[in-house]
Amino acid sequence: MTRRAARPAKIDRQRSASPGFYVVAGITVLVSFFPTIWLFLTSIKTEATIYAFPVVYLPAPPTLDNYLNIFNETPELLRYILNSFIVATTTTIVILAFGGLAAYSLGRLTWRGRGPLLIFILAVSMFPPLALLPSLFSMFLDLRLINSYPGLIIGHTGLYLPIAIWILSNFFQTVPREIEDAARVDGATSLRIFWRIILPLSAPGLISTGLIVFIFSWNEFPLSLVLMSDNFMRTAPVGISLFPGEYSFPWEIITAATMLTITPILIISGLFQDRLIGGLTAGSGK
């Protein structure tokens, strides 16, 4: 009792990582990574080992054949990954440009009607993405935007602009108003203030938002499924999902292709965890 009272709770709460705590942490790490570890192990097994009974746990011997076979026999799987890359990077750039301007307008500039408009944008984004499918499909068919990069990029941009605007306007609010006011007194235009002051000062926010949007677009499924029906235009999640034939699942190819597709995700969540967590909590914490 006296010991606890003498020691401030802050230290008690933040430092005391008991052995029991490390057990919880260890289990968390194990549980999070085991599906991916099993995926990787499968992808470096020979076909005979994958379909062995009883199940062979470790690849003996490990082989890169499944990956090489993708290059040699099913290059369309690489095309899917390239498609995903083109769509996700372009979507991210477009969203940062248009979303940044909109977030500055809604978050910092004072003009009438901006409050209700922000709420309206968020409300529209609450509709399930599936609600867009029948209409977008028939619209894009008429506009010849099916099976085209611009089509899916426009689709993804619309889907994730609201959340990006929301996250960005939270980040922009952390830029001190005095700097902006000083520049305005000096006669700077709004565009110049946005470009020279707001953007550089909220660079971490832009990176966070960009990474989140990239992950969303890379992973997006329903729109990519419907707007890209040509076999060579599919994105990686859709292409791999539809790759299996009617009756057989070629797991040696599926696991290798899946491993290639989730590698960027693995790298981003390893290297930029602070940025991702910062962006996610800025978007939902309020």
Partner: protein, 290 residues
């Protein structure tokens, strides 16, 4: 100020045009399509038939099954995710060695593409060559292979398991953000009063975390109600239609049975339910603040 006003409108225009084109107009068209028949667009051959599609859906057993599946799935997974998320957030809210790895472990399942994650689990659940049956049999916990994805109601439970695995960590991140806003002095005061960890959690953490809990439960509920890729890749909605969700039912109605109007009404019903749940949550949140 006038200048700022004009700039404000200019800056907003590109974003608003895209949102109007990709979100607003399609949503309106979907609503209108749900009251029509034999049409894929409101401009060509549209015929208004009132609520007929809705009446037909409510009399379709397969739709009712999909509705029940979705509600059951949401009602089981979201509370489980909240409990695990709370536990994880509490554990993470302190300093310890190896924090980077643990945080990556919490982020990674959230960041995985749901569709491919479903395939990864489908492979582990595989009854002949899958990891789970092999491990359970080799360790003596099971004597014969279990058909995880091919039996009713086991397939639904397997699907719930995958969902809880993937999204508990997202819940933990949102709750962690809430936890970090609770000032430390409150716990100091609590420990002076001699409260132990459990009473501190009950009387300090939980009440102050209430808004964060409601927000994360709301976001997760909306997401669970529109689950699509998971049954699409894990179970194909089967066996029979025991894991078919509303989204999967609507997708199949629209693109496999090519009935845009009936599928649109299914989506609108789904949206009305999501909206009703959201409003109930927000009312609870408001009442908590007043």
């Amino acid at each position: 100020m006038k200048q700022a006003n004009r700039a404000g409108v200019y800056f907003l225009t590109p974003a608003l045009l895209i949102i109007a084109f990709v979100l607003l107009f399609p949503i309106i068209q979907t609503i209108v399509l749900s009251f029509g028949k034999n049409s894929t667009s409101i401009f060509i051959g549209y015929e208004y038939i009132g609520l007929a599609n809705y009446r037909r859906l409510l009399a379709t057993p397969r739709f009712i099954t999909a509705l029940n599946n979705t509600l059951f799935f949401t009602a089981v997974t979201v509370p489980l995710e909240l409990c695990i998320g709370l536990l994880l957030a509490q554990a993470l809210n302190r300093r310890f060695r190896g924090k980077g790895l643990v945080r990556m472990a919490v982020l990674f399942p959230w960041a995985l593409p749901t569709a491919l994650n479903a395939l990864m689990w489908r492979w582990m659940f595989n009854s002949e060559f899958g990891l789970f049956n092999a491990m359970l049999i080799d360790s003596g916990l099971l004597t014969e292979r279990v058909n995880w994805l091919g039996a009713i109601p086991l397939a639904m439970y397997s699907m719930m398991f995958v969902s809880v695995w993937k999204t508990s960590s997202f819940m933990a991140l949102l709750l962690l953000a809430g936890l970090q806003t609770i000032p430390d002095d409150l716990y100091e005061a609590g420990s002076v009063d001699g409260s132990n960890r459990w009473t501190a959690f009950r009387h300090i953490t939980l009440p102050l975390l209430r808004p964060a809990i409601l927000v994360s439960v709301l976001l997760r509920t909306m997401d669970a109600m529109r689950t699509f890729e998971l049954p699409f890749n894990l179970t194909d909605g089967g066996p029979l239609t025991s894991t078919e969700t509303l989204s999967l039912y609507a997708y199949r109605t629209i693109f496999q049975y090519v009935n845009f109007n009936l599928g649109s009404s299914a989506i609108i019903i789904q949206f009305i339910i999501i909206m009703a749940i959201s409003l109930a949550y927000i009312a609870t949140l408001r009442r908590g603040q007043a």
